[in-house]
Symmetry: C2
Subunit: 123 residues, 2 copies
């Protein structure tokens, strides 16, 4: 009954957990922004726009823990904190960009499907 390619439950759990992390909208935005160049916390926050300081801090910490982002504290006054993608983060960008491109190309089909669904399922 269980498809062969997701037969290993532990493997499957790790992958779905990872996809949850990668699919998190703020993490995705951070990784995409850092794909261009290293940035300071304040630059990232300004660039992304409507993200809270707390949420950006959490996203960056998770991405750093997973090995996708490197955090560097420069001994200036006040200390300057830079973030950049690691090699692993740059590798991750490839399949993520594939998914983002697919979504960009198909967003209108998804929106059309939603409108049709909502018309059929009016309260």
């Amino acid at each position: 009954m269980k498809p062969a390619h997701i037969a290993e439950t532990e493997d499957c759990r790790q992958i779905s957990q990872m996809l949850s992390r990668v699919g998190d909208k703020w993490s995705m935005l951070v990784v995409t922004y850092l794909g261009e160049e290293g940035m300071r916390f304040s630059e990232l926050r300004r660039g992304i726009g409507n993200i809270s300081q707390k949420m950006l801090t959490t996203s960056l910490r998770n991405l750093e823990r997973d090995g996708f982002v490197k955090r560097t504290v420069l001994p200036t006054s006040p200390p300057r904190v830079d973030y950049e993608l690691t090699d692993l983060g740059r590798e991750l960008l490839v399949p993520v960009a594939g998914l983002a491109d697919w979504t960009r190309e198909n967003v209108h089909r998804i929106e059309t499907a939603r409108k049709e669904y909502d018309l059929l399922h009016k309260p």
Copy 2:
């Protein structure tokens, strides 16, 4: 300051929203299971394992609304409800499988990064 490829905020919001949906662990599992063959609700629930009835219902409804999954009620007694991927859902599987494959191949690097991070940031 803002990278050119995510300059369009509305576009960007739609994509990050879509990636959140696709990255949702239960949605991912459902799409992957249905990639093999159409299934009944009970088969899906048994196959996926530790998913609640409510969560599976919600995931399937979201995927149906987005146009990825087709729901068919067969007039048996009791009524039988089948789920299968639409053409759009099958197309989505391609980049999703790319990301899943990348994750499968790199899960040990991510785990190593987490262990190193946790050692450095012990409470």
